[in-house]
């Protein structure tokens, strides 16, 4: 991560007006944030909090009512900035009468990329998102997950510096969500900056370096995920190669009490359901035909 500001907003405000020019809703109020080069930045908030409005303002889909925003040093109304941006919307708004190859070719042409480079890059991206076998099928035949994959591929066709992802894991199964998060991390590793907004807080916590939390158009929290989530009043202890016992509990209580604290709980940690699910799927792939009975015994059916 560097200190180069890829995105910067200054008092960015969006007020929606009705037909007669009367104020209908303030979707975003005086937002001041910046996103540094090479980081994954998360925009969080409940429905109607202003996160999608912020993204649309950054992309030039909406025009600011007040304040200003810059992407890669250019005003958001400057079309040239789009040369360096990749955007994956929440829903896949791709043309469903095109197939994967045609889709990437079309968006590649919008970036004025040479045909030879376009074809090479499209082939690489189709392989990267795992759609090689389905590249000739029209997108109307694709599942939600497949559409999200080709959507991501189109967002990367121009090898962007900034990737904006709106709910990238929405509607994906856990495997798809895991794949998407892995890919987002790899984008950061390639030096790209990523802005994502999501309702799935565990995803944001997993991959984002910094976040901004919005509520009813106002910025409520903003900073590093690790800093924001740190609970300074509580202490976490982790140990390996040790079993639970009453003696251990008594010793720990004594140590904590001696330092003026109280032992709230202790026990074996639990993994996340996502990790457990991924482990089960991985094992199933490793041993095809194995299944579990109701009494938790495994049988090999094939």
């Amino acid at each position: 991560m560097s200190n180069v500001k890829v995105v910067e907003t200054r008092k960015l405000t969006k007020i929606f007006l009705d037909f007669w020019g009367r104020k209908k809703k303030t979707a975003l109020r005086a937002l001041d944030i910046h996103v540094d080069e090479g980081e994954i930045f998360g925009l969080l908030g409940p429905n109607g909090s202003g996160k999608t409005t912020t993204i649309k303002l950054l992309l030039g889909l909406l025009y600011p009512s007040e304040g200003e925003a810059f992407v890669l040093g250019k005003p958001t109304t400057d079309v040239k900035k789009n040369e360096y941006i990749g955007y994956l919307p929440e829903e896949s708004y791709l043309y469903r009468f095109l197939n994967a190859e045609e889709t990437l070719d079309f968006y590649g042409r919008l970036f004025d990329i040479e045909p030879r480079v376009r074809r090479k890059r499209a082939a690489e991206l189709i392989e990267r998102v795992g759609l090689e076998r389905d590249k000739k099928r029209q997108l109307r035949e694709y599942s939600k997950g497949m559409r999200q994959r080709i959507g991501l591929a189109q967002a990367l066709i121009n090898n962007p510096k900034l990737v904006i992802l709106d709910e990238p894991t929405s509607g994906l199964d856990p495997l798809g969500a895991y794949w998407m998060k892995d890919l987002i991390r790899s984008l950061r590793n390639e030096g790209k900056t990523v802005i994502m907004c999501s309702h799935r807080l565990e995803d944001v916590q997993d991959i984002c370096d910094r976040i901004a939390i919005l509520h009813e158009g106002d910025l409520q929290a903003y900073g590093k995920v690790s800093t924001l989530l740190q609970d300074a009043d509580r202490l976490e202890l982790r140990a390996s190669n040790i079993r639970l016992s009453d003696a251990l509990k008594r010793d720990l209580e004594a140590v904590v009490k001696a330092h003026g604290g109280t032992l709230d709980a202790f026990g074996h940690p639990t993994t996340t359901l996502e990790d457990y699910f991924l482990k089960v799927v991985a094992e199933s792939k490793a041993r095809p035909g194995r299944r579990f009975l109701a009494d938790d015994t495994a049988v090999q059916s094939r």
Partner: protein, 636 residues
């Protein structure tokens, strides 16, 4: 010698409006009219924008750009003042006495005066002002992006199968003439009109539908989000959609024209093919009248449509018997006519009767053709010397031809006369400053009037005895198809621009209403000029409610006076709006040429193409601004 044929029903082209010529379209008057109309609109838009906050952007500009914008704004002020005065003038009938006569909708620059030039310059400044952002955008436009979007529109229409149902329907309609009985003389006319009518209705509807649905669908499904977040100029989307839709419709038009042409060429009877499957190439002269009330327009017999001028039969005047005369003057004649044995002249005149005629008897006319070398005295002497001189010899030696016997013709039926080619050989000689050929027509019957316009008399430049000419006919057929293409371009452009801001249904409806109004411009003009039966629109509504007949004058009540005065305002507003209607009526006339076997004039078609393009340009500019200002995303 029987040189006279009458009632040639195979070819009965009767032009009701002069074909356009390039010098008319590119004339000072037309240019001024365009600059004043479009410039007036541009200045109004520019100043509204300026007042609505644009001034901040202007003052934010730096250096030369700010100076240039301010200068253009200042130069646009006169035309803006004219706009304001014109708008205020729309309501003047309300403040005038009820019986005041108002000259509605007089063309602004029928005869350009000196005052029009500074105003037109002001209009030009306003046009430059509003087009500057578009022009500045041009270097940033990428053909690759535009073609990508065009290609997308093309694929979209094909893969969404919008065309299939319509094309299927069209194929049935195209062959509709199988089920329409027609006389052999009308066969080709019927075939051509069925084919073109079917193509026009279906293609314009499909084209407008495709144009109106593309962008709103993209906005509704938010597919446009992904396009505008790429380095795409908004106007590229508009141009791409226009090119894509037009490319598709062009392909369909070419296929259908070819199918229609094959169907006609194979389906038409040998007799009809022999007579009508050709493209006559007429040679027109310049018409002037003598011994009538106007040298340019002849006599006026009170017809509402003042296209033709009339000549009466011989009349008694103070100086003796005077014979009004219509002359077609040909400054030059093509040398190819001199090589022919016979050259056919054809004519279609109107009869205005002041006394009842006889059944199956036409009106007699005198027809004399002379060249610039004609010397009446020398000819008289030669005839006296040798009374057996043939018409060909007289034509060759004395530049004179008069058909043998009496020439009669029927109302709006095409007659023809064979002229010796030697006459044209004679016309090629002599002083080039004098007109090569003059055709004089007089009316022989004193109680009848004969009406004629410039294009009512012509010589056939093509060989009248050549029989069927399928290749020339096919070229002509495709030229008429090109006129349909221009209409498609017009409809698609207008509907597409409307769809940048409006929904599919509303854009389609507005586009269709505009085209319908353009087609009934005659009626709109009558309405504006107060010539329509039953008064203006409000008066007609009142009559509908009261169930009163149109001929009965309204009673003299306060309400009726208010209605009639308001109608005058409505007429003024309609008159102002009518100036913005396209001239599609001219484009719809070409199948008549093809059906009657007349070559379509290249200059006329080129003029219409120029008019269409210049009509579309302000619309595209409007589309540029609508898309540029439009926030693609909504609040959600």
């Amino acid at each position: 010698m029987n040189s006279m044929n009458l009632n040639l029903p195979w070819a009965a082209l009767s032009l009701e409006r002069d074909p356009l010529e390039l010098f008319q379209v590119l004339s000072v008057g037309s240019t001024l009219f365009y600059l004043l109309t479009v410039g007036g609109l541009a200045s109004l838009c520019a100043f509204l924008w300026f007042l609505a906050g644009g001034f901040r952007k202007v003052f934010a500009l730096k250096g030369f750009a700010r100076l240039a914008v301010l200068l253009l704004l200042a130069l646009s002020v006169p035309i803006l003042l004219l706009d304001i005065a014109s708008i205020v003038a729309l309501f003047r009938p309300l403040f005038l006495p009820a019986d005041a006569v108002i000259s509605a909708n007089a063309p602004l620059v029928a005869r350009p005066g000196w005052a029009d030039f500074p105003l037109a310059f002001s209009g030009l400044a306003a046009i430059l002002l509003v087009s500057a952002p578009f022009v500045a955008n041009i270097p940033r436009l990428s053909p690759r992006r535009i073609l990508a979007i065009a290609n997308l529109s093309f694929k979209e229409a094909i893969r969404k199968r919008v065309l299939y149902a319509f094309t299927g329907l069209l194929l049935i309609v195209l062959f509709g003439s199988w089920f329409i009985p027609s006389k052999p003389t009308d066969e080709l006319r019927t075939y051509v009109s069925v084919v073109f009518y079917a193509m026009t209705v279906v293609l314009i509807l499909v084209g407008a539908l495709l144009a109106a649905s593309g962008l709103p669908a993209d906005i509704r499904t938010q597919s446009l989000f992904l396009i505008v977040t790429k380095p795409v100029e908004r106007v590229e989307i508009l141009l791409g959609r226009l090119i894509g839709t037009m490319a598709l419709m062009t392909l369909v038009l070419v296929v259908l024209t070819s199918a229609g042409l094959m169907y006609i060429i194979r389906g038409v009877s040998p007799d009809a093919a022999e007579e009508s499957l050709k493209a006559r190439l007429p040679l027109f002269g310049f018409l002037e009248f003598k011994n009538t009330s106007s040298a340019a327009k002849g006599d006026n017999v009170g017809r509402e449509w003042e296209y033709r001028g009339y000549i009466s039969g011989p009349t008694q005047s103070a100086t003796g018997i005077v014979s009004p005369e219509a002359s077609w003057v040909y400054p030059t004649v093509p040398s190819v006519l001199a090589t022919r044995d016979k050259v056919q002249a054809e004519f279609t005149f109107d009869i205005y009767r002041t006394t009842k005629g006889f059944e199956n008897r036409g009106v007699g006319i005198g027809l004399v053709i002379t060249t610039r070398n004609h010397d009446a005295e020398a000819m008289r002497r030669a005839r006296e010397k040798d009374p057996s001189l043939s018409p060909e010899q007289i034509a060759s030696d004395h530049g004179y031809f008069q058909p043998a016997g009496s020439v009669t013709f029927f109302d709006y039926a095409t007659g023809s006369v064979d002229i010796p080619g030697a006459l044209f050989a004679n016309a090629l000689k002599g002083d080039p400053k004098l007109p090569a050929l003059t055709v004089r027509v007089t009316c022989k019957e004193s109680t009848q009037y004969v009406g004629m316009a410039r294009y009512d008399f012509y010589f056939r430049q093509d060989d009248a005895r050549a029989g069927a000419q399928p290749v020339r006919f096919a070229v002509n057929f495709f030229l008429a198809s090109f006129a349909l293409w221009l209409r498609l371009l017009l409809v698609i452009s207008v509907t597409l621009v409307l769809s940048t801001e409006l929904s599919t249904v509303i854009s389609l409806l507005m586009g269709m209403v505009l085209m319908m109004l353009a087609h009934v411009q005659e009626f709109v003009r009558e309405l504006v000029e107060g010539k329509s039966a039953g008064g203006g629109p409000l008066e007609n509504i009142k009559r509908l409610i009261d169930n009163s007949v149109a001929a009965k004058p309204l009673e003299d009540t306060a309400l009726n006076t208010l209605i009639q005065q308001s109608d005058k305002v409505v007429r003024e507003v309609l008159g102002a709006l009518a100036r913005f209607l396209p001239e599609v009526d001219r484009l719809s006339y070409y199948p008549e040429y093809v059906g009657n076997g007349f070559a379509i004039g290249g200059a006329d078609l080129a003029c219409n193409a120029i008019l269409t393009i210049f009509y579309i340009l302000p619309w595209l500019l409007l589309g540029f601004y609508l898309l540029r200002w439009r926030e693609v995303a909504g609040p959600t």
